[in-house]
Amino acid sequence: MSEINGNGNNLLQNSRSLFGNIGLPTAIIAAFWFFTLVVGHFVGISMSTLVSDTIKRAGMNGILVLAMVPAIQSGTGPNFALPIGIVCGLFGLVCSIEMDMTGMAWLLVSFAIAIPLAAFAGFIYGKLMNAVKGSEMTIATYTGFSIVALMCLAWLMIPFKNPKMGWFIGTGLRETIQLDAVGAAQILNNFLQFRIGKVIIPTGLLLTFGFFSTLVWLFFRSKSGIAISAGGINPKFAQAAGLDIDRNRVFANVISTILGAIGIIVYSQSYGYAQLYTAPLMMAFPAVAAVLIGGATASRAKVSHVIVGVVLFQGLLTTALPVANEVFVGTDLSEIMRMIIQNGIILYALTQVKRGVQ
């Protein structure tokens, strides 16, 4: 390319490619975040709290966002059916409580139950995605909604006995389950936690996120990972190269669903509560928005997009909330802003889908 351009064009070219590399949504959100930080500083909000919260929220949402990568890479588009993975994770988590596990044991047993379940659910979901090629995103969204509704019944009807999770009167599980009761609240966050000045670094949480990010990054450099990506970029190419695209798509969605399950367990322990019933309903959207803000498209996503996106998106949310409350006293503007940003970003990204999902 560059050999064609004269010197005069080079600067323009470079600035454009710099801008192109970062991407419009990323740049806008970054600028907006910076703006809220400045405003926050002037209205007297503690920067160290904001930074600590941002790091914590980025860490707890990270794996859920990471779940988008395999789905997008395989060509099925962002995994709007993330609630499938999430309910699998929640199921593992409540089963683990039912078995009276506490602390680290609770965490590991939750994973152990959730992962095979998520693998199975992801397999079925992947088959579904193959059956509805061309309208994956819509179908995925409603699959996610449906599974949440179905699980609402399950949470009520499965005869769990452990009083830590039941209603005080009647049967079924509570809407929010305190993880304090099993000694698991912030169990990862507190692992090797330290402070830099007033900023709290939840080492264990970040390590977990880092571990899974590395795993996904490595996977997409392996033979199967490359095959999955190729199928996503150009199905005809992959088919001509003798790949089984449908199988790869199923496989990618299995990984995505498993990451969703792991993600919600990590999220819940950091939050300190497990939220059942309709809580997972809308959880796919912030995750989709985050990865898109990070620079992914509906057909291409990298681990770096996840990291950049989750920090920017969660950073903006954590900052905007106290700042908006301070500036517009007595309103719920921050929540409205969150909805506008989140859905606006998804909308923007989906209009940019060129021939990504075929």
Partner: protein, 538 residues
Amino acid sequence: MSESLLQFKNVSKNYYGNRVLTDINFDVKRGEIHALIGENGAGKSTLMNILFGMPVITSTGGYEGDVLIDGKVINFKSPHEAMYAGIGMVHQEFMLIPGYTITENIKINREITYPNIVSGVFGKRLETLDMVKMNNDARKALDKLDIGIDEFTMVAGLPVGHMQFVEIAREIDKTGIKILVFDEPTAVLTESEAKNLLAAVRRLADRGIGIIFISHRLDEIVNVADRVTILRDGELVVTKNIGDTDAVEIASLMVGRKVAIERVQSEKRKISDQVFLNVKDLHVAMPGEMVKGIDIEVRKGEIVGIGGLAGQGKLGIANGIMGTYPSRGDITFNGKPMKLNDPHSAIASGIGFVSEDRKGVGLLLNESIELNIAFTAMQVGNMFLKNKGPFRFQDDTGLRKHALKMIKDLDIRCESPLQHAGNLSGGNQQKVCVARALTQDPLFLFVSEPTRGIDIGAKKLILDLLLKLNEEQGMTIVMTSSELAELRSICDRIVIICEGRVEGVLPPDASDAEFGLMMSGSRIKKAEDPLEGRAPNV
């Protein structure tokens, strides 16, 4: 002059500096059937687009020269204007609504109506249809064609032959139709249907309508047309009275010899008698390139060309064998029966494939050259991988080494092996495709349209490369191409495909006429054996 209905005077057309038509001069007389013939890309469609004022012409800067109807210069801005001026077209694909009756299809958008209460209030669009008048008109149009089908029959379920007639009836029902263009009207018809159609075309001409008849079938043209105009590479070769010529002459004029063919045959080549690839009764469902039962034998060390006009099925053969489109048939490769519809096993058995769809199937445009080169070998042959724990990773060093070697060997002009394949020129992209096929260490290579969209210099490089592979490594190559000259320059023999079947096999030095006749599937030679005719559309 007065009898000239339509005249093209010095018509030329450029597409972005690319000259596709040069100084076309011919005329169509009242009541004449004027055949227009030429290979794909000779300029027939462009000429018709000009006549109809298609947006593709106006939006690319119009054309030079004049088109005259009844001696008056016309310049249509849209197909609508052309329609009002009395020009109609019968398309190759039917533009009919299956769920409507014949009358409704004929009268669509030109319905005869009468006012009712509602239309008095809401306007003309809600007037009642006058089915009686419409049926009468439709009947008249059908009668002109001498077709006995009922006008109130549903189009869905009609035989294709009849659908074609409905289409024609719609055109002639338009009042004041002067010129009717038939674009390969018999391509999808059976023999008897085609015969009926040609008779109808003749009747229309007798009513004073000027007819432009585009077809690849020489015998048809010789039978039905009054005059024939031959186009080649955007130039008018000649216009002749049909009585002064014959199919053989038309064929040779159509093909012509575009470039001098230099055949450099080296002594080192070895063609063994062993049949390497044996294709029996291959059927491939590739849309637009249907293969309907083909037998081909390829011997080891040979370069076999597959030629034919577009849409006849030549591209379907390699795609079918490689499993990119559904296929059935018996194929033996290297002594073993081949599993069809399984690209993986086709590649694993040692067949390389350079697809005709370079940008779509051939390359990952936004990935590096090195990944493009190594991809298939990595996925199918497990090359360029190293094991680490549970994962098998891409072997970066091995990959880079191989990519650099390929870049050097094939002379791929690029900045680095990491450059995206999409940034390369067409010729270099093609070399990357070839490099990928070679990386699999194939015993056999399918190359489809290797020079499509590549400039002349690069074309020669690609062809030389294929020849070199064959000479130095004894690679057996089957090359499919629309460019006859290119097939004739390197192939040992050329299989001509017509209508999904093998029309015949010719040596590269056969005459232009032989190629032309065969490509147009001329049935002259077969006249004595009616059973050998075209299969009805399968």
